[in-house]
């Protein structure tokens, strides 16, 4: 359990609220939309391809080494020792204790050799991997084994306008949820792919009455809010 064991669990005793809104098991029985598991599996396929292939600042082998250590960190295990020190520390913190990261940490990692754009890619790799591993755990599945690395060199693409603005890492425009990984467009694209499959697409986000598999929007947002509270995240 380690880092994941410190929060109080949700409890209440007011069953009267169970009839106010949202689906029941009977509602779900008449929901004709397909179960989401096939879409999830296809998403993992795409993410594994992204992981194994060269990214923008890291090659496939390096991306997979970051991913493997992120899994170790999330499980409270010792890391491999294969990553350079600032990359290893950033990996551990993003995977297992992201709320503890400060601007001084990111600045120190840069002084120790972790380029700010490379750091954004590390954040993208780990955040998507954790999304899929956590969802898989909730679905009752074992985490899928990481793929083998593909050959090739990183693209080195640095988009116009990416700079440190209101956050402590480069973004295009102010640092917000949509722009968080914008300094590395391939990582931002991957984030939106995960976001659309697991939660909602950008268009769907404006529909406050949307349901997914019978889960009402308030129930979706309660899930989001409780997740953020457990992760000590204020966004």
């Amino acid at each position: 359990m380690g880092l994941f064991s410190r929060k109080k669990r949700a409890t209440t005793d007011d069953p009267s609220l169970d009839d106010i809104d949202g689906p029941t098991a009977d509602d779900a029985a008449v929901d004709l939309s397909p179960p989401p598991l096939e879409a999830f599996d296809m998403l993992v396929d795409r993410e594994w391809s992204r992981l194994a292939n060269p990214g923008t600042w890291w090659n496939g082998g390096e991306r997979l080494a970051i991913a493997a250590d992120a899994r170790r960190a999330a499980a409270g295990e010792e890391l491999s020792g294969l990553l350079p020190e600032p990359v290893e520390e950033a990996t551990r913190r993003i995977a297992a204790d992201a709320a503890s990261i400060r601007g001084t940490d990111v600045a120190r990692w840069e002084l120790e050799g972790l380029d700010p754009f490379s750091y954004v890619e590390v954040a993208g790799i780990i955040s998507r991997l954790m999304a899929l591993d956590i969802a898989a755990f909730g679905l009752g599945r074992e985490p899928r084994a990481l793929p083998k690395a593909e050959n090739g060199e990183p693209s080195g693409e640095r988009p116009d306008g990416a700079a440190i603005t209101t956050g402590w890492s480069p973004t295009i425009g102010p640092a917000t949820a949509p722009s968080s990984l914008s300094a590395v467009p391939a990582e931002a694209d991957g984030m939106w792919d995960v976001h659309g499959v697991l939660y909602l697409s950008l268009d769907q986000m404006f529909d406050m009455q949307i349901e997914r598999e019978g889960l009402s929007r308030p129930q979706i947002e309660l899930t989001a809010a409780r997740t953020s509270a457990l992760n000590d995240c204020f966004y």
Binding site: G138, G167, Y199, R217, E221, R226, T227, L230
Partner: protein, 110 residues
């Protein structure tokens, strides 16, 4: 988003339980949803089975699968935002107070 979505159903949100884990939020089956999210995010295999069964019985297995996926998605967003240090808008101070929390100084708009 939670407040906006719950308002469309003419319901009232009680936000404090989102952080404390104790009490009713005003969202249907909120107790079962939060218990399942706790098991998923805390990666508690012992609690997961029972919490999943309770939620399956309340909202159905497909909706429960969606809860697991949404929890995964926000674990991604939380990490991305914390990693890049996106500031929290000062306008959220009142909501933070309702949650029984305070926006940490390092996340206040710079």
């Amino acid at each position: 988003m939670l407040r906006a979505s719950i308002a469309t159903f003419d319901l009232e949100l009680t936000p404090a339980p989102i952080v404390s884990g104790v009490g009713e939020t005003g969202v249907a089956f909120g107790r079962e949803i939060m218990a399942f999210v706790d098991a998923v995010i805390l990666r508690d295999s012992d609690e997961l089975v029972g919490a999943r069964a309770d939620l399956d019985a309340s909202i159905g297995p497909a909706a429960t699968d969606r809860v697991a996926m949404v929890a995964g998605n926000f674990s991604m967003m939380n990490r991305a935002l914390d990693a890049v240090g996106a500031p929290v808008d000062g306008g959220h101070a009142d909501l933070a107070a309702e949650l029984g929390a305070e926006i940490p100084s390092h996340l206040r708009a710079r």
